[in-house]
Structure formats: structure tokens, C-alpha cells
Amino acid sequence: MPPRRNANRYGTGRARQPAPMGWLKRLFWLFAVVGLVLAALALGYLWYLDRTLTDVFEGRRWSLPAQVYAAPVELYTGSPLTQREFLAELERSGYMSARSPRLPGSFTVTGETVAVFLREFRFDDELRAADRIEVQFRTHGIVDITTGGGHAVPLVRLDPPLIGSFFPSHGEDRVVLNPEDVPPLLKEGLKAVEDKSFDTHIGFSIKGISRAVWANITAGEVAQGGSTLTQQLVKSYFLDNSRTIKRKLHELAMAIVLEARFSKEDLLNAYINEIFLGQSGNRAIHGFGLGAQFYFNRPLNELAPHEIATLIAIIRGPSYYDPFRFPDRALERRNRVLDTFLQDGLIDATTAAEEIAEPLGVTRKQRRGGRYYPAFMDVVRASLVQNYSREDLASKGLRVFSTLQPRLQESIQRHIAERLTTLEKNRKIEKLEAAVVILDVQTGELLALAGGREAGFEGFNRATNGTRPVGSLMKPLVVLGALEEGWQLVEVIDDAPITVPLSRNKSWTPKNYDGKVHGPVPIVKMLGNSLNLGTVRLSQHVGMDRILNLYGRMTGIKATNPNPSFVLGAESMSPLDVARLYASIANGGFRTQVKAVTSVVTEEGETLYQQPFELEKALEPAHADAMTWVLQAGMTLGTGRGSRHAGKGVAGKTGTTNDFRDSWFAGFDARKVGIVWIGRDDNKATGLAGANGALTLWDPIFADLGVEAITHEDDSQVRYVEYNSGLLAAPHCAVTVRIPVTEPETLPYKEGCGIEAPESQSEEGWRWPFWDNR
């Protein structure tokens, strides 16, 4: 037997044929090994997918950009807010007019009363529950506020509109919703329309794919997708839009992993927060929370069935079914979605008929949830990046409360557009640009800021970064310096030719705006009429050191051009810095730190950051008050006299630079400081001075915002003074202004003009005070 065995092993003939079982065995082992290798690779791939997907999914599920809110509107008895303005605020915050305000987010107008069902809102300091209030108006503002039960309410805040968010650089913005925030109709509607077997499949659906393939074959084109919600979620999270077999298999594997790893509820909620619903510039609208705000300017839980249907309709093709660009197409698909709701028993026939009869109802773009105030947001961003990383801002769900008053902001943007168009047309000028800054006088809070003519343009911000020579806006510093040196506003200075020696045998010979010489004028008129020669002469008495020191105290900035021409505004400043300079006069001598963010709160309501009002004493209050009186005089009789608010208790100063390149106006009332710059980006001449350029834009803005006359707490030292001479006089017999003086009994008076001369002066008559001494 052994030889046979040998023959079998080494021999020829039949004995050399491999046994059938051996061949099969080898094949088996080959397949087994290959199979094992493939299985190991597959497992490795799934393990890799599981790790990657879980990390990314967990990381992104709650990744939430910081949301920035405007300042809330305070409603209180005595508020000057008119009914019309209030209704505009309600609309801005997405409140809907209704027959009766039964649900949060709705309001009803009955005559002069507005009944509002306020939404629940978490402010930075409290959670305000949803509540019904009635607000009664008269022409001058709010006269009464009561609760639904008839109790008087001293004050209440309107929930502020969202004005932007810090989405990541890849441009995905979102408002993350918890499962309990999602209306059941949306959850069930999504399944009905997009994935009927969602509750039972394991990530993909053979039935769904077969149905889609059949539909596509019969249609002769790609008419239907067979992707489950999970596959769509995977695609949105991890993959590109290519339609290759490899990508499809990848998507399938990922969907299976996600299904194995997460619950159906988690996946559906992730889908609701993730799915792409549209594009606005560089900002991608992801998720139904933001989608509701973007398309309807309301929170998701306030949407009607037809609005939910519109959002679901958009999923299939956010560009193709864009309700703004293709409303008919979107409406048709929305109605098909509503039909599906009806067929699946999600709504009854009556509701379906009513909802189908509704128009699309999308609100025009540039509303809530948008990056609509890019110039203001620049300041917010600059403030936040000092304390938070970009990563935190883009993902931690912070809530940022800002100081922006959208009503003011929209007003200034509208007036800039209108005024520049008119100026260009009337004066045959081209390419005018403008910047406007509005600050709260008392707190330094930035209420509105326009960085250019185009409101939504995210480009160069002229209000914060555009530094231009400020011209005569600098002159008050000379007068403030004089006041600190003990001068009086009635003292006379000679507006006569002057040459100031500079270094290296050079000299500077300024001229007046009108090229004339005005001779002896009191300081109040010198500034009011913006006379250059007198100002330079006074600055020589005061000294550049004091003037530059004042500039530093009032703005916190070091001058870049500390030459004599500084006093006529050769120094370049941004409109925002000019606002700080004038705010320190307007608020009684305190330098303010411009503030655009009041607080930053975590998603859970914990306050991370609260910005106090920043005030640092820069001037003696009496000097700031005196300067305010002078600037008021300038608005009555000086270069600001053409203003429609002249003589109504506002203060201001015009500014013009060489060759009419820059037209400035800085003005304030009791509540607001407003700075306006008009010029061209190429720095060419515009032909506009401060008075016929920037002031003509400041005027309608302040008319719109409402002017509140400046009050002076202490006017015991204030006297009527003749504007041309600086002599004490009675207003009925001379052109006078009211300004504070010290020791009035020592000052000269205008004879025969209602002022009795003190005995000490009666023999000498009047004389120019201090004229010979200065």
C-alpha cells in the first residue's frame, strides 16, 4: 500500500489527477481567506465609519452659531413710541396680525389700542413668560399698558429681533431645535413626503429605491430620489453632490452605521436641524428652525400647516423651488405636499382646503435671522473676538445681546440712499458715499451705524475704518482748551490773517472758508460761524499741548498729526471716533467707550459677560455744558442755522475739508449723538460743505428719530449775549444767544439794550473784555 500511496503522490495517470474534494477544498480555503480579509476590511471600514461618523455627528448635532439680538424695545407709560412705530416693531419681530391674539406671536389693533400676545423669551436677565398685554396709544406715545386681566403694567419688553449669527467660515447658519420644539406635523409630514418607511428601515429602503428607479425609468429622467431621510442626512453631513456608484455605496454604509448607532428620534431631529433649505449670499440656511425665520420671519412652532408644507416642499430643491424666485413652482409643490398630508391623515379635508387656499406668505428677504446689518455687526464682532474664539462663536450657541435699534438703523440706511441720490442729481456729482453713527448720549451705546451707501454690503466699513480729515469738527477743542485756561465765551478774538511758524523755516498761513477776514468776534461767534483765522489765533494762546491733551482725554486716541493745522481738522478720524469726541461734550464731559454688546449668555441662560457703561471723566462738566451752549448757538445763528432743527434745542458743528473733499456734520440732542460723513472713496472733490452736504442728511435722520431738546440742569450763569459783539444784551433789541458767563457784573453790556450798567462800568462805558491782554 505504501508504493500506491507513493504512486498517488508522485506517480502518473489516474493517480496524478487531483481529487475533486481537494480542489474544492482549496477553493473553499481561498474563498475563506479572501472572505476573511474582505470581512476584516469591511469591519475595519465600518469601525472607521462608526468612529468618524459618531464624532462628527455628536460634534455637529449641537453645533450652534452665536445668535445676535437687537436691543429690546421697552414699552412703558410715557414712552414716545407711536402706535405706527410699535406696529413696525411687532412686524420686525415677526408678530402676525390676527382677529384676536390667541396665540403667542400675534396681535390685534383696535383703534388706538394694540393687544399683543407676547412670546416667551429668555432675556439676559430673566425668562419672560408668554403673556397677553394691551397697549394704549395717543399721538405722543404710550399712555397705558395693561395685562390681559386688566392690571396696569409699568413696563414690558418686546422680544428683540435676531439680527445675525456667527456661523462658521463655510457659511452654514442654523438655529438648533430640541425634539420638543418641533411641531408634530413637521415630523410626520417629513416622513410622509420624504421617507414613508423611516420608522422601520435600517438606513435604506429597497422598496423606496425600487419605486424611485421605476419612476425614473417611466419618466425618462431622474424624477424621484430613493434616499431615506437617513441617507439625506448622511449626504448633508458628510458627502458632496456627485452621483457616482462609489459615493452611493459610501452613503449607504454610512446610513446603516448611523441607524445602528443612533435612535430614530435622534436621527430625525438631526435631519430637522441639518437639512439645507436655501442660500442667502454666502450664508447657507440649514435646518427648519432657521428656515422658518428666513422664509416666514417667525419661530417654527408658530407656523401654520401650509407654511410647514412650504418648508418641506423646498427640501427637494432649495434653488428650484425657491419661493422668492419661483413662487408658482413652489406653490404647486407645497399644495402637493398638503395633499400628501391629507392622504396620510395628518390633516383633515377642511384644513387641507383652507391651507391650499392660502398664499405662500413668505416674507421678503432681509428680515429676521439674517446678516442684514453688516456694518453694525463689524463692531459686534470686534467686541466679541476679544473674549471668544471664532470656534466658540460659531459653535457654542451663545446668545449675544446688542445695542442696535433696528428702527434707527433702517431709518439711517433709507435716508442715506435717498439723500445721496438727490445730492448727486441736483449737483451733478457721482459716486457719493456716506457713513453715519448714532450713539446714545448718556450710555455710549451704539444705536445704529451705517458703513456706506449700500445697506447690506459687507465690504469696507467707512464708519469704523474710513479715516478722513475732520475739518472744523476739531474746532471745539480749541474753545474747550480756552475755557480750561479761564477764557470766557464772550471774549473777543481777532479773526485776522495769521502766519504760524513751523519747523525748518516753514510757515503756515490758513485762510477762512469764504476767503474773507471777519475782524474782532466773540469766541461764541468764532466757533458758531467756524472762522479759521480766529480759531488758529486762539489755539496759539491755548497751546497745542493742551489741545492735543484734550483730544486724548476725550477720545482715548493719540493724535497722528500734532501740527498747528490739527486745530482746523487736518487730523483724520473715523466717524465712530468723531462720535466719541462729541459724545463726551454731549454727556457733560465723560469719555465713553462705544458699546455694541451689552451681554453674552450661554444657551442655558448663564451670563458669561456683561459690559458696563464705560464712562471716564474727561472734561469739567461746566466746560462741557458751556460748549453745548455754544454748539446750540451755532445751530441757531452759525453754520448750522439752515437745519430744520435750528433753534429747537439741538447742538452741532459742520465740517468741511480742503477742496470740499469731505462733508461732515456732528450734532446731538438730549438723547442721541449723530455723526454724518459724505465724500467719495477716491477722495475727489464733491463740492459739498458740511452745511449743504452732511447736515442735509443729518436733518431728516434726526427728524425721523425724533428730536428731544437739550436741557441744562443749571442755567444760573446763563445770559443773553449779542452774537456779533459778545456784549450782554436783551433779546428784544439785539441778535442774541444764550451762553454761560462768569461774573456777569464785570462784563460789558450793550448800551440802551435792556441791561443796566453796573456802577463800576458806567463811567467807562463798554470795552472789549481782555482784548489788550490776549
Binding site: 412703558y76 436677565d125 409699568p154 448718556q442 479761564g486 491733551n549 438730549a670 440742569e713
Partner: protein, 175 residues
């Protein structure tokens, strides 16, 4: 009669010590030495150079809305919630920013929260806004006193409090 005598004496004293306008040195460090507080740090030069007016009826210091916010602030403060106490007063100041009483209260709220620098700024602001109103002057200077106390100037704090206490010569109740 005693009050009248006190008042006349006060007028005279006020006139005598009222400082003449002094030009400020250009490099004077404004940030660290606000005049209303530091000028008063020498007790022998009392009383402060405040404008003096005859007694007159003053309007209520707070409107209905700001009163509600002040009460809210007080409640928060009692609970030790200084942050919300401050937030309520800031809301009030946004409504009525020229009200010296509100700035004085804000100063005290910041002191309670341990933030001395804003407290100093707001006490200064309050004294600047107080103008001729005795009630505002009183609350503003009492805020200054609270600040002085906090930074260890007990004598100065005591001196101001004595002047503005109900029996003091600057008190509206005392007139």
C-alpha cells in the same frame, strides 16, 4: 429760624470756599483722579463747592417705569443677585439717562458687586448730572461716600454722609 441761620451761614461758607476756575495741567491724570472725589479728600476744606439754590419743590425722582425697575433692582440686590440688580438699573438708565439718582444707584449696585471702577465712574456721573436738585445731589454724594468707604477713605465717607444725612446741611429734608 435756626434753619434760616444755618442756610445763610452755608451760603456764605459756600461762597468763600468756592474755588476759582483753575486751568488744568495738560498732563493731569484724569483717569485716576476724578475731581469730585479727590478734591474732597481734604476734610478741612469742607463743604463741597456745589451750586446752592433755595429750597424748592422737586419733581418725583423716578417715573413709574424707572421706579418699577429700581424696585426690581432692590429685590435682586436683597437676594444677592447683583448682576440682575445692575441689569435692572441699566434698563432704567436707558429710559432716563439724565437721572442722577439712577446713576447713583447704579454706582452702589456695582460696589455691592465688588466692581469699584465702574462705581467710581457712575458716582462721578451722578454728581455731574445732579445740577441744582437737592435730592439728586444727596443721592449722588451718598454714592460717592459709599465709594470712599469701599476704598478705605472712611473719614471722607463719614464727612460726606454727615453733610447729606437727613439732619445734614445738604439734605433736602434738612432744609
Amino acid at each position: 429760624m435756626n434753619y434760616l441761620l444755618l442756610f445763610v451761614l452755608f451760603l456764605l461758607t459756600g461762597c468763600m470756599i468756592a474755588p476759582s476756575p483753575q486751568p488744568q495741567a495738560p498732563n493731569r491724570p484724569q483717569v485716576t483722579t476724578p475731581p469730585p472725589i479727590t478734591e474732597r479728600s481734604t476734610p478741612e476744606t469742607a463743604p463741597p463747592a456745589l451750586p446752592v439754590v433755595p429750597p424748592q419743590p422737586t419733581p418725583p425722582p423716578l417715573s413709574e417705569a424707572t421706579q418699577a425697575l429700581v424696585e426690581g433692582s432692590q429685590k435682586a440686590s436683597l437676594k444677592g443677585d447683583h448682576r440682575n440688580a445692575i441689569a435692572a438699573l441699566e434698563r432704567a438708565i436707558r429710559i432716563d439717562g439724565r437721572n442722577a439718582d439712577l446713576w447713583a444707584r447704579l454706582s452702589v449696585a456695582y460696589l455691592r458687586d465688588g466692581r469699584v471702577n465702574p462705581a467710581r465712574q457712575y458716582a462721578n456721573r451722578a454728581t455731574a448730572l445732579a445740577g441744582n436738585r437737592p435730592d439728586w445731589q444727596r443721592s449722588a454724594w451718598l454714592a460717592v461716600a459709599a465709594f470712599e468707604e469701599q476704598v478705605g477713605n472712611h473719614a471722607e465717607a463719614e464727612r460726606i454722609r454727615a453733610l447729606y444725612s437727613p439732619e445734614g446741611r445738604y439734605s433736602p429734608e434738612g432744609r
